[in-house]
C-alpha cells in the first residue's frame, strides 16, 4: 500500500501527515485528526452527514480522498465557532430545535453556511433546494428550514 505525505489546513491549523493513498478524507479527519464531529451516514455521497467546507465549498468527505485535499483549507464543525461559543447558524439550530439525534447536524451546518454566504436572505424554497442534499431522519426538516431563516436574520444583524 502506498502512502503520500499531505499538508492540509484544518480549522486554521496546518497539519502534515503521511497517509495511505486510499484513505478517505472523512476517515482522515475523524480517525487521523480525531475530529469526529464529521459523521459518515451512508459512505456513498447521498446523506450529506459528512459534508465539510473545502476551500469554502461544501464537499462530501466520504467521496473524497485525503490526498485530494493536499494543500486545501478545510473547515469542519469543530471549527465553526471559537471554543465554547456558537456560530449564528448553530445558535439558530439550538433556539428553534432544528436537531434531535444530531448525527446529520454538522452536514446541515456546513450546507447552511455555504448557502447564507451566497444568499444572505434566502426564501423558503431556496433553503429547501440548498439543503436537499442533506438527509435528516429526525426533524422532518420543518425546524431546520425555520432555523436557517433565523440564522440568516442573525447573520444580517450581526
Amino acid at each position: 500500500m502506498s502512502t503520500v505525505e499531505i499538508t492540509v489546513t484544518v480549522n486554521g491549523s496546518s497539519r502534515t501527515r503521511r497517509v495511505p493513498d486510499r484513505l478517505l478524507l472523512a476517515d482522515f479527519l475523524r480517525h487521523e485528526l480525531r475530529l469526529t464531529g464529521t459523521h459518515v451516514g451512508c459512505g456513498h455521497g447521498v446523506c450529506g452527514a459528512c459534508t465539510v467546507l473545502v476551500d469554502g465549498a461544501t464537499m462530501r468527505s466520504c467521496l473524497m480522498l485525503a490526498v485530494q485535499a493536499d494543500g486545501a483549507s478545510i473547515t469542519t464543525v469543530e471549527g465553526l465557532a471559537p471554543p465554547g461559543g456558537l456560530h449564528p447558524v448553530q445558535q439558530a439550530f439550538h433556539e428553534l430545535h432544528a436537531l434531535q439525534c444530531g448525527f446529520c447536524t454538522p452536514g446541515f451546518l456546513a450546507s447552511t453556511i455555504e448557502l447564507l454566504r451566497e444568499n444572505p436572505d434566502p426564501s423558503e424554497t431556496e433553503i429547501r433546494e440548498a439543503l436537499h442534499g442533506n438527509i435528516c431522519r429526525c426533524t422532518g426538516y420543518v425546524n431546520i428550514v425555520k432555523a436557517v431563516r433565523r440564522a440568516a436574520e442573525l447573520m444580517r444583524a450581526g
Partner: protein
C-alpha cells in the same frame, strides 16, 4: 438556560440541554469513541444468498493481510443459537444461529467475523474469504410462503407460520350478518427500512483481570442487551456493562438485540483483544430489521346510518427469516389487530393474524410498528364507506368516534382509553386545515389534480409489564426506574433507566423533576444509557419514555421533595405541610420564612450545625421503579392536501395540518419536533420508500441511491395545534406521542390521493403510491377501476 421564562418548568418551551455538544461536534457516537490499544476491527461476512447450504469456508486467503483473522461457527462452538420466541400458545419455537454453520436463511445472515488491525484491512480480508454455497430455492413473499408445497424456512414451522392468533368477540357473527352494508378491501403496506442515519455498531472489551466485560453499542436498550449477553454467553450480570453512547437515531430499529453485539463480545473474550464493528449503510440495509411488509384484509359491516356494526380483519406480516429479540416474530402480526380499533366505538370484532417466515431480513419494530398500515386500512375503509353511503368523510367519522360519555372505554382488543377529545380534535383539525374551503382550492391549477384527506388515529403508548406479559414477551420487563440524587449543593443528578436517541430526555426528564423539586431544570443533570449508572429498566421504545420512565422520575421527585419539606420544616420550625419548594427555596407559605434548597441539602448531608429531624435518614437519594398499569392512548387528526401533476403523476404534499392530544405536554418544542419527524417517516413509505427483492430474495435496494428517502424538497411545512386533555391513568397527566405522526401520515396521504383520483373512479390500496401508477390512472378513462 436561554428561552422565555415559563410559569413553571413543566410545559415550558425550553431549548434542549443536549444541543451544544451536538452542535459543536463534541458528541461521541459509537464510531467516535477512541478505541483501546490493540483493538481489532470487525467486518461481518454476510451470506450473498437468500437460502443456501454452506459446503465449506476457506479463510486461508486472509494470510495475505497482516494481522487478519477469521472466526466461523467452528471457532465458537460453545455459542448457543438464539431462541427469539418462547414456547407459548400461538408461537413456533425456532432458532437463529449467531453464526451460520450449515445453512443461511437471508441475504445478510452472518457467516464469519473477519478481524484486522483497521477497518480497511478488515474489508480487504473479507474479500479473501471463500465460502462455498449450494443455493437453494428461496421463499421471498407472503404468497410464496403460504402456498401449498412452499417448503419451510424452519423445520419447526412447516407451514412457515411463526406466530398466529385468532379472536372473535361474543355476538360477532350475528352483528356482522345483520348489518345492511359490508365493505371489503385488502390493503398492502410497503416493506421499509428505518435508516437511522447512524448505522448500528458496537465496541467490545473484556478485562480478564477485573473480569469486566464492556459493550458500547448504538442501541435503544442497553439493559436488554446486557440481559441477552448474560443469557447467551452465560456471564454474570454484575460483570457485564453495556453503554449506549450518543446514538444517531433509533426509531425502533435499535430496540432489538442483534447477533453482532453478542458476537463482538464473544470474539473479544476469545481473542483477549477489544473488537470494534462500525456497520456501514449496506450492513444496515441487509441486517437491521425491516418493517411493515404487511397486508390487512378488512370486512367492515355498517348499519344504514354509517355506524360501525362489526369488523373482521385478516392480517399477514412477513416476519423475515427469524424473529428478533426481544420482540419475537409477533411484533407486527400481534400489533396490527391490537392497534386496529383506533378512536372508534365498535364492539364486534374478529381477527385472524399470522407472522410468516420468508428468506428475507428479519422484521422488527419501526415507529408505529403495524399501526400505520392498520390505520391505512381502517381509514381507507371509512373513506370508501362514506362514498358508498353518500356521507361526507368527516360525518362518517363523527358518527363513530368515541365521545366524552364513552370514557373510560375498553376497546374490542382490550385496550383501555382513560380520556380523549376525539370530536374536538376533529373539529379543530378541520378548521386548522380550512377543510371547508378546499373546494375553492381543488381546481386552482389546471395542470394538477388536487385532493384532501383526513385520518383519525390513536397511538398506544407507555406499555408496562402487564402488556408485555400478555403479549408473551417475557424478555421485556416493562418497568422503568429513576434514581434521583440531590447533592449538597442543591443540584441533582437523575439517572434514568432509558437512553435517548434524539428525543430530548435530558431536558424533558429534568423539567418533570424540576416541577417538584423547586430548582431549575438546568440544575438537574440527567444520566442515561449506561447499565452501571442507570437503574434497571427496559429501554427506549414504543413511546414509553414520558409515561413509563416519567412515572419513575415524578415518583422519585415526589419522594425527595417530601423529605426536603420535612427537613425544611425542621429548620424553620414549621409544619412540613406548609412548605412549598420553588425558585431554589423552601418557603413556609404565607409567612415570608424560607431557607435555600442548598441549605436543606447540606443539612441532609450533615454539613450544617443543625441535624436532620429525629428519626430521619441522611441524604437526598432515592431509586423509584414505575410500572404503568394501563397503556396510555394518544390521539390525533391529520389533514393533508396533495396535488398530482397531470403530465408526470408526481405527487406534492401541498398542505399538512395536525391537531394532537397527548395529555399534558412537558416541552411543546420537543413534542412538535417529534411529530414533524414522525410525519416525514410516514410520508416516505407512502410516496417513495420501498425495499425491493428480486425473485431469488436478493435485496436490490442497499444504498440511499436505490432506497429513496424524503428530503427537504419533498416535505411541506406542518401546521400543528395541541389539545391537552390530562391523562387520568398516568403520573403527571402525560401520554406518549413519538409514533402518532407516522401512524397518521400514511393513511392521510393515501386518503388525499384517493380523493384527488375520485373523478377517475380509482381507489388505491397499496403503498408506496408511484407516479407511473397515478399517470396510468389519470390517463385512463374516468370510471375505470384500478388498484
Amino acid at each position: 438556560m436561554d428561552g422565555p421564562a415559563p410559569a413553571g418548568p413543566f410545559g415550558a418551551r425550553l431549548p434542549r440541554k443536549e444541543d451544544p455538544r451536538l452542535l459543536r461536534g463534541e458528541a461521541r457516537f459509537l464510531d467516535d469513541i477512541e478505541v483501546p490499544p490493540g483493538t481489532l476491527h470487525a467486518v461481518f461476512l454476510r451470506s450473498p444468498h437468500a437460502h443456501a447450504r454452506i459446503l465449506g469456508i476457506d479463510a486461508s486467503g486472509v494470510r495475505d493481510i497482516p494481522g487478519a483473522l477469521v472466526l466461523t461457527a467452528a471457532d465458537l462452538p460453545q455459542l448457543p443459537p438464539l431462541r427469539p420466541d418462547l414456547p407459548l400458545p400461538g408461537f413456533a419455537v425456532t432458532e437463529r444461529p449467531l453464526l451460520c454453520r450449515d445453512l443461511v436463511r437471508f441475504v445478510g445472515d452472518c457467516v464469519a467475523i473477519v478481524l484486522a488491525e483497521d477497518a480497511y484491512a478488515a474489508e480487504d480480508a473479507a474479500e479473501l474469504v471463500a465460502v462455498d454455497y449450494e443455493p437453494l430455492p428461496a421463499i421471498v413473499t407472503l404468497e410464496q410462503a403460504l402456498a401449498e408445497g412452499a417448503g419451510s424456512v424452519h423445520r419447526e414451522a412447516p407451514d412457515n407460520v411463526l406466530f398466529r392468533n385468532q379472536v372473535t368477540t361474543e355476538g360477532f357473527d350475528a352483528a356482522f350478518a345483520a348489518a345492511p352494508h359490508v365493505f371489503r378491501e385488502t390493503f398492502v403496506g410497503s416493506r421499509v427500512a428505518t435508516v437511522s442515519l447512524e448505522p448500528r455498531g458496537c465496541l467490545a472489551r473484556h478485562d480478564p483481570g477485573l473480569d469486566e466485560t464492556v459493550l458500547w453499542s448504538s442501541t435503544q436498550v442497553p439493559h436488554l442487551v446486557r440481559n441477552m449477553l448474560c443469557e447467551v454467553l452465560g456471564l454474570a450480570d454484575t460483570a457485564v456493562r453495556v453503554i449506549a453512547p450518543d446514538v444517531g437515531g433509533g426509531f425502533g430499529v435499535k430496540a432489538s438485540v442483534y447477533p453482532e453485539e453478542i458476537l463482538a463480545i464473544a470474539a473479544a473474550r476469545l481473542l483477549g483483544r477489544p473488537v470494534k464493528w462500525a456497520g456501514d449503510r449496506q450492513d444496515d440495509f441487509l441486517s437491521s430489521s425491516h418493517a411493515r411488509d404487511m397486508r390487512f384484509g378488512v370486512e367492515m359491516a355498517m348499519d344504514a346510518d354509517g355506524v360501525l356494526a362489526a369488523i373482521r380483519i385478516d392480517v399477514l406480516a412477513n416476519a423475515g427469516a427469524y424473529g428478533g429479540i426481544p420482540f419475537g416474530s409477533s411484533i407486527e402480526a400481534g400489533g396490527g389487530p391490537r392497534t386496529f380499533p383506533g378512536p372508534y366505538r365498535f364492539r364486534h370484532y374478529a381477527f385472524r393474524t399470522r407472522a410468516v417466515a420468508t428468506h428475507t431480513t428479519p422484521s422488527g419494530p419501526y415507529r408505529g410498528v403495524a399501526a400505520p398500515i392498520a390505520f391505512m386500512a381502517f381509514e381507507g375503509m371509512m373513506d370508501r364507506a362514506a362514498a358508498a353511503l353518500g356521507l361526507t368523510r368527516e360525518e362518517i367519522r363523527r358518527r363513530n368516534l368515541l365521545d366524552t360519555a364513552d370514557f373510560p372505554f375498553v376497546n374490542a382488543s382490550g385496550i383501555r382509553y382513560d380520556i380523549a377529545s376525539h370530536h374536538r380534535t376533529l373539529t379543530k383539525a378541520l378548521a386548522l386545515s380550512e377543510w371547508e374551503d378546499f373546494v375553492l382550492r381543488r381546481d386552482a391549477d389546471p395542470d394538477k389534480i388536487r385532493g384532501i384527506g383526513i385520518a383519525c388515529v390513536t397511538e398506544q403508548t407507555g406499555q408496562g409489564s402487564t402488556r408485555y406479559r400478555a403479549r408473551g414477551l417475557l424478555r421485556i420487563p416493562g418497568i422503568e426506574a429513576a434514581r434521583l440524587k440531590m447533592e449538597p449543593s442543591g443540584r441533582a443528578t437523575l439517572a434514568v433507566s432509558q437512553t435517548t436517541q434524539g428525543q430530548g430526555h435530558l431536558t424533558t426528564f429534568a423539567q418533570m423533576a424540576a416541577e417538584h423539586l423547586g430548582i431549575p431544570p438546568a440544575h438537574i443533570t440527567v444520566l442515561e444509557g449506561d447499565t452501571a449508572v442507570s437503574p434497571f429498566g427496559s429501554g427506549t421504545f414504543a413511546s414509553r419514555s414520558v409515561v413509563a420512565a416519567g412515572g419513575a422520575v415524578i415518583t422519585a421527585a415526589e419522594v425527595i421533595a417530601k423529605k426536603m419539606k420535612r427537613i425544611a420544616g425542621h429548620l424553620l420550625e414549621a409544619d412540613e405541610a406548609d412548605i412549598v419548594l420553588r425558585d431554589g427555596r423552601a418557603e413556609v407559605v404565607g409567612t415570608g420564612l424560607s431557607v435555600t434548597i442548598e441549605e436543606v441539602a447540606r443539612t441532609a448531608y450533615a454539613m450544617r450545625p443543625k441535624g436532620v429531624p429525629p428519626g430521619e435518614s441522611f441524604g437526598l437519594d432515592t431509586t423509584e421503579y414505575w410500572d404503568q398499569p394501563f397503556s396510555s392512548v394518544s390521539a390525533a387528526v391529520h389533514v393533508a392536501e396533495v396535488s398530482i401533476e397531470k403530465a408526470t403523476g408526481r405527487v406534492k404534499v401541498e398542505r399538512y395540518s395536525i391537531v394532537h392530544d397527548c395529555g399534558r405536554v412537558v416541552n411543546p418544542m420537543i413534542v412538535d419536533g417529534q411529530v414533524h419527524g414522525a410525519v416525514v417517516q410516514g410520508l416516505g413509505p407512502a410516496l417513495m420508500e420501498r425495499l425491493v427483492h428480486d425473485e431469488h430474495g436478493q435485496l436490490l435496494t442497499t444504498t440511499l441511491l436505490d432506497y429513496t428517502l424524503p428530503t427537504a424538497l419533498d416535505v411541506p411545512d406542518i401546521a400543528m395545534e395541541h389539545i391537552e386533555t390530562p391523562a387520568l391513568d398516568t403520573k403527571g397527566g402525560v401520554k406518549g406521542m413519538a409514533e402518532g405522526g407516522t401512524i397518521g401520515a400514511i393513511p392521510v396521504l393515501l386518503s388525499a390521493i384517493n380523493d384527488a383520483l375520485r373523478p377517475h373512479g380509482a381507489w388505491i390500496h397499496a403503498i408506496p403510491v408511484r407516479a407511473e401508477q397515478l399517470l396510468r390512472i389519470i390517463r385512463t378513462q374516468p370510471g375505470t377501476p384500478e388498484g
